[in-house]
Amino acid sequence: MKNCDQFRELIEAYALGALDPEERSQLEAHLETGCPDCAKAVEEARWLVCQLAYTAPEAAPSDMLKGRLMQTVRAEAQSQAKPRVIPAKSVIPSWLWVGVAALLVFSIYSAWNARRLHDEILQANNRAATLEGERRKIEQQLALEKRKAMILMDPSSVKISPAGHDAQGLSLEAKWNSQLGVVVMGERIPMPAEHHVLQLWFIPKDPKAKPMPSMMSWPDANGKFVMLVSNPPESMDNTKALAITEEPEGGSAWPTSTPRWVAGVS
């Protein structure tokens, strides 16, 4: 570690720029400690070194150098002296621009909000229509169930069963009420073939008359089958039997397959 006197020996060379990096770093670190004597010595040494400039032979630069310099300096002075171009003040006051901007933002928000409300109303209407459809469907289902129950419980209803053993294994039976209609129902009824449906036929007594097509339906997933005919023939007297065939989807005007269930009426 050098002391102050040792550093003082470096100061002239430091001012001259001749110190090697290590010594220069050491001296600068010492100067950063704030040593007043060394700081003053450095200042004096710098003045001393400055005097060496006079040992260079004085020489005159060319007139062209002065010409170039003065040309540059005059051009820069003129450009800085030019008044700044202040943009013309707008005839529209700033508060009005702020107002217009606020109005524009409000309009955009209003349009967006109106669109959002419109979409919400449409969605609500769709939900209401769906619920109304479901309500009507339930009411119709309820009315049918009510009518079916009335047919089944009404003492005037006539039970119609197959005359003998059903070879197809369809366990169906029907009840006919001349006022309320006909109910055909059964359990464990197998599904018809793909794209086919079970269709009910009223077989007239008149051999020349053709079978009268009626309702079409499928058993549910559990094999339960219920069919309600609200508008059967007015009198059972002209009907010989009820029959169910398997027909293509949409039904047929004439039976196209062997009846899977037949029950005599009268």
Binding site: A13, A56, E76
Partner: protein, 195 residues
């Protein structure tokens, strides 16, 4: 005091420089021109001594004076006279240029007829003052030993360090350090004695 002895200009000249610099801060072109006329010979001579090439030296001098024009506020008059500051800036720029030139190994020999001639300053009194100062410093430098003078010149005009000077002169490092320190101290004593 010692520092007062080293102010490179007479009080009248210092005052004139200060006035011109205050006008320069206001972007007074005339003030800039006067400062250039007063000090360009000293600055150019110094740069030319370092770079040894007229055209490159003029480029450096142009940079120095444009720096002065554009950043005159960087000069703090309370820290000392203007001329040493200007010379320090010129020397630093010239040495930077010299090192860059050396790194690129593209230093060229200058043509003898490109060397500028010594000029006579238009301001006789001022020129006389500067001339006297230059003569005093040169006389003191001439009184040093050739080794001291050479070592100091290598450091000041070529920007070499102690180690580089020792290698250049093929002398021990400690010897070079002594030459430089003793030479500068002798110069300092001589300046103190003649003021």
């Amino acid at each position: 005091m010692f520092l007062a002895a080293f102010t490179s200009s007479s009080p009248r000249e210092v005052s004139l420089d200060a006035t011109l610099l205050s006008r320069l801060l206001q972007k007074d072109v005339s003030a800039f021109e006067q400062l250039y006329d007063r000090h360009s010979r000293l600055v150019y001579g110094l740069v030319l001594r370092i770079l040894q090439q007229a055209s490159t030296s003029e480029e450096v001098v142009q940079d120095v004076f444009l720096q002065l024009w554009r950043n005159a506020d960087q000069y703090d008059s309370s820290r000392g006279p203007f001329v040493p500051w200007l010379c320090t800036m010129a020397r630093n720029r010239a040495l930077d240029h010299l090192r860059l030139k050396s790194e690129r190994q593209r230093r060229r020999e200058d043509q003898p007829d490109e060397l500028p001639s010594v000029v006579v300053a238009p301001d006789y009194e001022k020129a006389l003052d500067e001339k006297r100062r230059a003569e005093r410093v040169r006389a003191l430098m001439a009184s040093l030993t050739p080794q001291q003078k050479k070592a100091i010149e290598l450091a000041y005009f070529e920007g070499l360090s102690h180690s580089e000077i020792a290698a250049t002169l093929k002398k021990p490092l400690g010897t070079v350090k002594s030459w430089i320190r003793n030479g500068l101290l002798r110069l300092k004593e001589g300046l103190q004695a003649t003021t």
